[in-house]
Amino acid sequence: MKKPELLAPAGDLNRLKWALKYGADAVYIGGKDYSLRANANNFSDSELFQAVEYAHGINKKVYVTVNMLFHNDDLKNVIKYLKYLEKIKIDGIIISDLGILNIIKKNNILLKLILSTQSSVTNYETAKIYESLGFKKIVLARECSKEDIVRIKKETNLEIETFIHGAMCTSYSGRCLLSNYITHRDSNRGGCAQVCRFTFYNQDVENFSISSKDLNMIDYISDMIDINIDSFKIEGRMKSLYYIATVVDAYRNIIDKKVMNNLSKKDIEYYKLVLSRVSNRENAPQFYNNEYGKTCQYFTGREEISNQDFLGIVKSYDKKNNIAIIEQRNNFSIGDEIEVFGPKTKVFSDKIINIKNDKDIELTSAKHAQEIIKININSKVKEGDIIRVKLT
């Protein structure tokens, strides 16, 4: 059984390191210009270099998105940037604008070509066309069903990448200018204002909504491995460190268990719970199983419920005294039940029995974000492990 690549988003160097530590095989990132998350922190040229150095040092991959739709003026300095990406040996470039393909080919820039989901490939004939143009890997349209994916795998030699988790566009990707017309921000150059999540009205309807729930493929990961999808992509270059670590960890475990032939329904149910808690949006599998009706949309707006599950990050552990030094992220108190998990720490539960600050003063609660505190944890934990609310 072929193990698929688990591909995570990273909005900055710190999140890149966390994504890889928590089990991603590869990350996709954007430079300061030319990607579709113009308002994420993104990576400077030197950070791109550091990212590649770091990832290659632990035998992992870095793909760089250059997937906005270019206007003439945007082309001015892009050759230099593409040559830089070639020089630092990124593992692939994700593009959708054939103008960029033209520049790459004319200048003989040797980069692995990955077609962005912005190109909305929905069928095998289209996949074959892009294969003939030199693309090695295609990020399929989110609208593809299992049948579509199987056929594309059968008819091409392309590596196939599909989204498994995260936000969904209402529109076919790249075919939406709602943001341009409502907010004058160019969605296809990274300025998307998510107008599909706004509400609309007329004389008959007070709240008309076209907003999609998020994607969650956890129920189908086993099936998707069986049909040999090459790369499983998590959406969310602007997501938090906790979100990325949690989602990557969940899918890492599911994939590994499937490949080791010991994936149980209980595992799936547990990680479903984990994933439902990490995001404040509802989710569904959607197009893979051809069920994209009313259950996959929001209709009445939704309340943003702030997620406070993320309690802290382990900085170090004194195993002689069972004391973990942690950096606090959300309020917790003595008596609270917690879970700990990490890149090499299997998830376990514990209970807060004491809290001290860095001056060894006893506290009843940890109330201050990023305060360094000490708590008793009976099992060994490691630097970088995450402490969260126990999921029930």
Binding site: G99, S119, S120, E143, R175, V205
Partner: protein, 268 residues
């Protein structure tokens, strides 16, 4: 730059091709394989009209396996060319016969030059560009370029049946074509649901008439009458060459004069 003579092509909202005597070039959306139009045509109708008029066909639906199976057996006769959105159709209809129309995607001259390098020499340029960008693309390429000159612009295309889903959820019976305002901006949009998709249009007519003289020799101009009411259509048809038309109808051509921003720093 291409020196070919340029045409004006019409997309109708009915089947009365003979009611527009000034025109003999029409784009007919193929039934079941196109989205976002008011009027569709069967293969038989298209072939019949092609005996009398210059007929172009548009196939702008994203193709899935069933669509490909069906479209591979279609035979057009005497049509000029086919506007295609989905690249799968390049291999089915051959490069000489197509006008590549990936909506919103072609925004720069390098894109057009790449198409030329693979022998695709007709394409539709996005109409969300500035007049300067449009002129630069023309100057730096050799293709036969097309441009939606007057239209209610399609600004979203979803595989979801967004109105049916809403009706299912709310037990309402909204029509398949509805006009809605966005709550904050009050901008008006048209949502149009069809068999397997929903498209959304900006309700103000995009009209580039202010730049007619600059565009007419560079671009084949497309006038798309879908979702425009009949009173306005008559006026538009009579006055489409009038540079003042955009002031005489309820229209918008913001993007012709304004670069679109996309970074927070630029927006501020």
């Amino acid at each position: 730059m291409s020196q070919n003579s340029k045409k004006t092509l019409i997309i109708l909202n009915n089947k009365n091709l003979n009611s527009y005597s000034e025109f003999n070039s029409f784009i007919l959306p193929l039934k079941d394989f196109s989205v976002g139009f008011e009027q569709y045509f069967t293969v038989e109708e298209i072939n019949e009209y092609a005996k009398k008029y210059n007929i172009y066909v548009i196939i702008n639906k994203f193709m899935f396996i069933d669509d490909l199976n069906k479209i591979k057996i279609i035979k057009f006769e005497n049509i000029k060319k086919i506007f295609i959105e989905d690249p799968s159709l390049i291999s089915i209809f051959k490069k000489d016969n197509i006008i590549f129309f990936p909506i919103h995607m072609i925004n720069n001259y390098e894109y057009v030059k790449y198409l030329e390098s693979i022998n695709i020499t007709s394409c539709v340029i996005s109409n969300n560009l500035t007049i300067k960008e449009l002129k630069d693309i023309y100057i730096k390429t050799n293709s036969n370029l097309f441009y939606f000159y007057i239209s209610k612009n399609e600004i979203m295309y979803s595989k979801r049946r967004l109105i049916s889903n809403y009706n299912d959820y709310s037990n309402k019976k909204l029509n398949n074509t509805i006009t809605m305002k966005e709550k904050v901006s009050n901008e008006e949009l048209i949502f149009n649901e069809e068999k397997e998709s929903t498209t959304c249009f900006y309700n103000k007519i995009f009209c580039a008439s202010e730049y007619y003289e600059e565009l007419k020799d560079k671009y084949n101009l497309i006038i798309n009458l879908s979702f425009i009411n009949n009173n306005e259509i008559d006026f538009i048809i009579k006055n489409y060459k009038n540079e003042l038309l955009n002031d005489l109808i309820d229209s918008n051509h913001y993007f012709l004069d304004n670069k679109t921003k996309y970074k927070v720093g630029d927006i501020k």
